[in-house]
C-alpha cells in the first residue's frame, strides 16, 4: 500500500515540477533590490519543498511557512516530494528550476553540490544563528573542502535499535535493559519463537540495510576503520571487513524472509503492527507512531546498538544531520535564504514542534527539559557515542555508495555465502572509480 503511494507521488513529483515551472514563468519578475530584507521579501514568493514526511510533514511545513509569511509578508508556496526521487534526481532538479529552499542532508550530499555551485553559500545565515548553534553542528554543516556551509543544521537523529516496550515485557525481558549482545540475541530469539520477526530489515531501496552494516562495522572494527573503508583507505577484502559480514550473517536467520521486498516504511509498519522484535533504523519514523496514536508513541523505545568489541564499546553512532539548503538557481535566492534561516531559528523550531515534530533539534536555544521521554532517550542514545557518523551514503562518495555498496549488500542478503566474491567486486569497483 505504502509503496503504491510512493509510486503515485513519483508522478505527482513530475506534475509538481511542471506546475512549478509554469508558476515560475508567471512570477519570475521579482526584482532583487537592495532594500532591507523585510521590505524586499514583502509580496515576493518563496518556494519550499518538503522532502517526504506524509501528512505530518505537510502539517509541520505549513505551520513554519505560515509563521514566516506572517512575519515577513512573503508568500510561501510549498510542495511535498517523494524523498527518494528528490534525492535521485537532485542534480537535475537543482540545475532546472528548483524551489528556493528545502529540507536537505548534511555531509557529502550538501558539500558536493555546494562545491559544484548548485547550493547557495549560507555563511552569513549560519553566522547569524551562531549564538544558538553548537560548534559541532556548524562543523558538520561546513564543507571540509571549501570551508563554506551549504546547509543550516536543524535536526539530527540516531540510527539505533528500536523496539516496543510492551513486546519486550511480554517475552519476559526488561525493556529498560537491552544493552549487551546477548540481550539483543535473546530478544530476537524469544520474539521469533512467538512466530514473529526477530529483526526486521528492508533493502528494497538499496540503502536501508546500510544502517545495519555501518553500526556492525563500527562496533567490530571501530570508527576510524569504518570511515577509512568508506573513503578507500582500507580494503573491502580485508579480513576485518569480512568479520563484519560474519556478524551480519548471524542476524539473517532472525530477519523477515522478504527483506528485498520491503523498504523503510515496511519496516516501520512491522513495528507499528507489533510484528517484529527489534530493528535498526533512524528515529525519524517516530513521527508516524505519534500520528497513529499517543499510546503507540509511548510504547516506542530506542537504545544504542549493543557492544561487540570491548575495545570500542558503544563509542560510535550514525547520527545524520539534517537541515535546510537553498538552491543557488532558485528564482528568489534571498527569499530562500531568509526562509531557511527562519526554519533554523528558535522561532521556526518552536512552530515545528507545536505542529507535532518529534525530531531533536541541534539548536541550543531549545530547552531539552521539555522533551518527552522518547526524545530524552534519543538524546541519551546520541550522547552515549563520542564518534558521530553521518550514514554510509553521506559518508562515502555518491557514485560509490548507491551504485556499488547498496547492490552489494542486497546480493549478500540474497546469498550470504557469496560474501568473498561480493567484497572482491566492491573493491574492484572502488579501484575503478575516477580519482581526483
Amino acid at each position: 500500500m505504502s509503496e503504491n503511494t510512493n509510486s503515485v507521488s513519483r508522478r505527482s513529483l513530475l506534475k509538481g515540477a511542471a506546475v512549478g515551472g509554469l508558476g515560475l514563468v508567471a512570477g519570475s519578475t521579482i526584482a532583487t533590490s537592495s532594500a532591507d530584507a523585510a521590505t524586499r521579501l514583502k509580496g515576493s514568493t518563496v518556494r519550499w519543498t518538503t522532502r517526504g514526511g506524509g501528512a505530518t510533514g505537510d502539517k509541520i511545513a505549513k505551520a513554519v511557512n505560515d509563521a514566516f509569511a506572517k512575519k515577513t509578508g512573503a508568500k510561501v508556496v510549498a510542495q511535498q516530494v517523494n524523498s527518494d526521487d528528490f534525492q535521485n534526481n537532485f542534480a537535475q532538479i537543482m540545475q532546472g528550476s528548483p524551489d528556493d529552499a528545502f529540507g536537505w542532508m548534511a555531509g557529502y550530499r550538501s558539500n558536493h553540490f555546494g562545491e559544484m555551485g548548485l547550493l547557495a553559500d549560507l555563511t552569513r545565515e549560519i553566522n547569524r544563528l551562531k549564538p544558538t548553534l553548537p560548534t559541532s553542528a556548524i562543523k558538520g554543516a561546513t564543507s571540509p573542502v571549501s570551508k563554506k556551509p551549504y546547509i543550516l543544521p536543524t535536526t539530527y537523529y540516531p540510527w539505533a535499535l528500536h523496539y516496543r516496550k510492551s513486546m519486550v515485557k511480554e517475552i519476559g525481558m526488561n525493556p529498560e535493559k537491552i544493552d549487551t549482545w546477548d540481550d539483543f540475541i535473546k530478544l530476537m530469539t524469544l520474539t521469533q519463537k512467538k512466530g514473529l520477526v526477530g529483526y526486521s530489515l528492508g533493502a528494497k531501496g538499496g540503502w536501508e540495510a546500510m544502517g545495519t552494516f555501518d553500526i556492525l562495522n563500527a562496533r567490530i572494527n571501530g570508527y576510524k576503520y569504518h570511515i577509512d573503508l568508506l573513503n578507500g583507505r582500507a580494503k573491502w577484502t580485508d579480513a576485518k571487513t569480512k568479520e563484519t559480514f560474519k556478524y551480519f550473517a548471524q542476524l539473517i536467520p532472525f530477519m523477515n524472509e522478504n527483506v528485498l521486498d520491503i523498504s523503510w516504511d515496511g519496516m516501520r509498519d512491522l513495528l507499528l503492527q507489533k510484528k517484529t522484535g527489534a530493528m535498526m533504523m533512524g528515529s525519524w519514523f517516530a513521527n508516524d507512531f505519534k500520528a497513529k496514536s499517543q499510546a503507540d508513541y509511548d510504547d516506542l523505545w530506542v537504545v544504542p546498538f549493543p557492544e561487540i568489541n570491548p575495545k570500542w564499546g558503544i563509542d560510535s553512532i550514525d547520527a545524520p544531520l539534517d537541515g535546510i539548503s537553498v538552491a543557488a538557481n532558485g528564482k528568489n535566492v534571498a527569499g530562500g535564504k531568509a526562509l531557511a534561516q527562519f526554519w533554523a531559528s528558535p522561532e521556526g523550531i518552536t512552530e515545528a514542534i507545536k505542529a507535532g515534530d518529534t525530531n531533536i533539534y541541534v539548536s541550543k536555544s531549545f530547552d531539552t527539559s521539555s522533551y518527552d521521554s522518547f526524545n530524552k532517550q534519543k538524546l541519551a542514545v546520541l550522547g552515549s557515542a563520542k564518534n558521530i557518523m553521518f550514514f554510509l551514503d553521506r559518508d562515502a562518495r555518491g557514485d560509490f555508495a548507491g551504485p556499488v555498496v547498496g547492490p552489494a549488500i542486497q546480493s549478500f542478503i540474497k546469498k550470504p555465502s557469496d560474501i568473498n566474491k561480493i567484497l572482491e567486486s566492491v573493491q574492484a569497483q572502488w579501484d575503478a572509480l575516477p580519482k581526483n
Binding site: 542534480a91 559544484m116 520491503i262 555518491g398 557514485d399 548507491g402
Partner: protein
C-alpha cells in the same frame, strides 16, 4: 529499394511546381531537422561523453577517460551481466511465448470462435494502460501488505517474497509485461488478418490443406509487412524495458535491466559517464539486430 526510390524521385522532380517543391521540402526538411537535433545530436554527444569522466554539472570538469568506463562495466560490474541476462530472458520470453501467443489469439479471434468479441476486448484492455500504470497496479496487488498477499492471509512480516526473490520475480515481471504485450500483438496482427482475402483461405481449404498448413503457407506469407513490424516491436520492447520495473522497485539493483543501469548512473549523486557508456551499449544492442534484420528482409524484397 533505395536506388529504386531515388530514380523515381528524379523522374518526378521535373514536373513539380514551386509550391509543391516548397511543401515537399518543408515536410521532409522539418522532421529531418528535428530528428537530427533531438535524436542524433544527443546520441553523438552521449557517445562522446561515454569516453569521459564527468559528474554532469560543470562543463569544465569533463576529463578524458578513454575506454575506462567500458572497461569498468565489462570487467567489474556484476550488475551489467545480471542486466544482460534479464534483458536476454525478457527477449527470449517475448519471442518464444508472448508474441506467438498474441498471434495465436489474433488468429483464433479472426476465425470467429465462440465469444471472440469478448476475448478480444478482454485481451485488449491492458493495452490501453501504460506500463507505469501496470506497474503500480501489480505492485499494489503483489507487494507485502498488498491485495493478493492479504487474500492469502499474509501480513507484511510473513508475506511471500515475490519482487525480491530472484527465482520468482523474473517470471512474475515477464508475466505482467506479457499481460500487455500479448494484447498489443493480438491487435496488430488482427488488423493485418482482416485484410487477408478469405478467398485465399477457402481455396486452400478446398485443396485439402490443414488449418496449420493454411496458417503457415497462406497467412504468414501474406502477412509479411505486419510480421516485420511485430519482430521489430518485440525486439525493441524487450531491450528498452524500464518503466514497469522502475515503478515496482524504485531502485535498479534487485532486478537490473540495461535501461535501469543507464538511469542509475545518470541519476543524482551517483551521476557518472558510466551511464553514457551503458546507453551506448544499449544503443548498439538495439540497432545492430534491427538493421541486420531489416536489410535481410528488404534484400529479399528486391529479388
Amino acid at each position: 529499394m533505395k536506388t529504386a526510390t531515388t530514380s523515381k524521385k528524379t523522374r518526378s522532380r521535373r514536373s513539380l511546381s514551386k509550391t509543391d517543391r516548397f511543401t515537399l521540402s518543408a515536410f521532409v526538411g522539418i522532421p529531418t531537422l528535428l530528428q537530427i537535433l533531438l535524436l542524433w545530436v544527443p546520441a553523438v554527444v552521449t557517445i562522446f561523453l561515454s569516453f569521459t569522466y564527468w559528474n554532469g554539472i560543470r562543463l569544465s570538469d569533463i576529463r578524458w577517460a578513454g575506454i575506462q568506463n567500458y572497461k569498468t562495466i565489462f570487467l567489474n560490474e556484476p550488475l551489467f551481466y545480471e542486466a544482460l541476462k534479464n534483458n536476454g530472458v525478457w527477449l527470449a520470453f517475448f519471442v518464444l511465448v508472448a508474441t506467438p501467443l498474441g498471434i495465436l489469439l489474433a488468429y483464433q479471434v479472426d476465425r470467429g470462435i465462440k465469444g471472440h468479441a469478448f476475448y478480444e476486448s478482454i485481451f485488449y484492455l491492458p493495452v490501453v494502460l501504460s506500463l507505469a500504470v501496470i506497474g503500480i497496479i501489480w505492485n499494489f496487488m503483489l507487494q507485502p501488505g498488498g491485495f493478493v498477499q492479504g487474500l492469502m492471509g499474509l501480513d507484511i512480516g510473513n508475506a511471500i517474497s515475490i519482487w525480491g526473490n530472484p527465482d520468482i520475480n523474473t517470471w512474475v515481471i515477464l508475466g505482467v509485461a506479457s499481460w500487455r504485450h500479448i494484447g498489443y500483438i493480438m491487435l496488430l496482427y488482427l488488423s493485418g488478418l482482416k485484410s487477408v482475402d478469405p478467398a485465399l483461405k477457402e481455396a486452400a481449404a478446398i485443396d485439402g490443406a490443414t488449418e496449420w498448413q493454411i496458417f503457415r503457407k497462406i497467412i504468414l506469407p501474406t502477412m509479411k509487412p505486419v510480421n516485420i513490424i511485430i519482430v521489430v516491436i518485440t525486439l525493441i520492447e524487450s531491450l528498452r524495458a524500464f518503466d514497469l520495473v522502475y515503478i515496482i522497485y524504485g531502485s535498479p539493483t534487485i532486478f537490473p535491466l540495461l535501461n535501469l543501469l543507464v538511469f542509475q548512473n545518470f541519476a543524482g549523486q551517483g551521476l557518472s559517464m558510466k551511464g553514457a557508456a551503458y546507453a551506448v551499449i544499449l544503443l548498439v544492442l538495439c540497432i545492430v539486430p534491427i538493421i541486420t534484420y531489416l536489410r535481410i528482409v528488404f534484400k529479399e524484397d528486391l529479388k
